[in-house]
């Protein structure tokens, strides 16, 4: 089924209805396996058991950036190719991405207190992720401020693309600046430097959270399409009553 077929909202809704239960099930299974593996993971030599926070902190951090990337692709879909479902995808993704960013900040803060002795530090990585969170909130505010959905979509698309500049800054901030946050240990040249006992649970949790995002995103897109149907019918009703 090509992207063009998916442009039809009705076809998209029927596909979603079929796929969603399987996605939800797969997500639950993966997350349960990941949680079990995280519980069974050994203690770190220095951090002891607090290393277990890594298994929920890192997937949320990866997703916070990944979701902005998905929104940027949707933004291109809106502005360049005018794909009909692109703005539905963008609008649905924003609150979910904001939630993941919030979780990344909070779990990171709770990990930082035992590890570094402080809940917060104004270093490059933390500051740029906080800026990302503020941009998510600004984007959601922009979506809600404009009444006409297609005009809101174009404004939001431009803001999303401008904000995408923050993504490489976040990724490379730990390399460019001397920061308190540790440098990359998984996505780097030369492969992961994490021990397999930690890497496997981390990757399983990351996959589980990614599937969680896809499930939530498709469900939210379905809601948004229905919301637009409601709006269209309400406008029809209003014009019928006025006539």
């Amino acid at each position: 089924m090509t992207l063009l077929d998916l442009a039809n909202p009705t076809k998209f809704l029927s596909l979603t209805a079929r796929v969603l239960p399987w996605l939800a099930g797969a997500t639950a299974i993966l997350l349960l396996i990941g949680l079990y593996q995280s519980a069974m993971a050994p203690d770190d030599y220095q951090q002891r058991a607090t290393v277990k926070i890594m298994f929920i902190h890192v997937p949320n951090a990866w997703l916070s950036m990944f979701v902005w990337g998905v929104m940027s692709l949707s933004a291109l879909g809106t502005l360049v190719w005018r794909h009909p479902l692109a703005d539905v995808a963008a609008k649905a993704a924003a609150p979910i991405g904001a939630a993941f960013t919030f979780l990344a900040l909070v779990t990171g803060s709770l990990w930082g207190k035992p590890m570094w002795g402080t809940y917060w530090e104004w270093d490059a990585r933390l500051t740029s992720v906080l800026i990302l969170f503020l941009m998510y909130l600004g984007l959601i505010a922009l979506w809600r401020a404009v009444d006409d959905p297609s005009r809101a979509a174009r404004a939001a698309a431009i803001l999303t693309l401008v904000g995408a500049i923050n993504l490489p800054i976040i990724k490379f901030s730990v390399d460019w600046w001397n920061t308190l946050h540790q440098p990359a240990s998984v996505m780097r040249m030369g492969g992961p430097s994490l021990d397999k006992a930690f890497l496997i649970p981390l990757l399983v949790m990351a996959l589980g959270f990614s599937l969680l995002f896809v499930t939530l995103h498709l469900a939210a897109m379905r809601n948004e399409i229905l919301r637009r149907r409601v709006r269209a019918l309400q406008m029809m009703q209003a014009s019928q009553q006025a006539a």
């Binding site: 174009r154 693309l161 401008v162």
Partner: protein, 222 residues
């Protein structure tokens, strides 16, 4: 070219008129800078250490305040539609408007800095450093702020949303502006490094600002 020059001259003249709002920015800058010592306390040594940060914050907020006017007054009297439909490329028109706005609203902030430096117990070298970073940094604030102004132009209560959209994009300018000032005054870091990054931020904003603002205006005004 002539059209752009005319646009710049028109904008500056409007901004400098009585209700135009250019000098209100300086007044706000002064007010904020005067408020800070009341909040922080009269400890002169502390004010000297915080001086560059206070001046930068004041300049940032003052430029945010005046950004609202960049497009709304033109939108209200219909001339924004004429500019969008005109033969001059919209990106260049946006850049011209931003330049005019900076000349009328941003440059006075830089000029006011030495006076305000006295209030904060900054010596001549420190004030000069802050003024130089503001000279280079306020264009970045104006050009990135223009993106928010273009996005919010069609909204009625757009002012606060504009601030929310623009502030995350302005944070790097603030960080490097203060870092450069501090480096010139005291720090072990060289002045050159944060200053070059500040210049780079401004140069990047000269390109991205007009393109994003033009796209917003085109998509938003129908």
């Amino acid at each position: 070219m002539i059209a752009l020059a005319a646009l710049i001259r028109r904008d500056i003249r409007i901004a400098l008129r009585v209700g135009g709002g250019a000098l209100i920015g300086v007044l706000f800058f002064l007010t904020v800078t005067v408020l800070m010592p009341f909040a922080i306390g009269p400890d002169l040594a502390l004010l000297t250490r915080l001086g560059p940060a206070i001046l930068w914050l004041g300049a940032l907020l003052a430029s945010l305040l005046t950004l609202d006017r960049l497009f709304t007054s033109d939108h209200d009297d219909g001339s924004l539609d004429l500019i969008v439909m005109g033969r001059t490329p919209l990106e260049l028109a946006c850049a011209a408007k931003a330049l005019a706005h900076w000349l009328a609203a941003g440059l006075p902030l830089v000029i006011a800095t030495p006076v305000l430096g006295l209030l904060l117990n900054l010596d001549a070298a420190a004030t000069a450093a802050v003024a130089l970073t503001l000279l280079v940094g306020t264009p970045a604030l104006t050009f990135t702020g223009m993106i928010g102004a273009a996005l919010a132009v069609t909204l009625h209560r757009g002012g606060l949303l504009l601030a929310v959209l623009v502030l995350p994009l302005s944070i790097p300018v603030l960080i490097f502006g203060v870092a450069a000032s501090q480096a010139a005054i005291s720090g072990p870091l060289s002045f050159g490094t944060p200053f070059s990054i500040l210049c780079a931020l401004s140069l990047v904003s000269f390109v991205i600002g007009p393109f994003a603002a033009a796209a917003s205006l085109r998509h938003g005004l129908d």
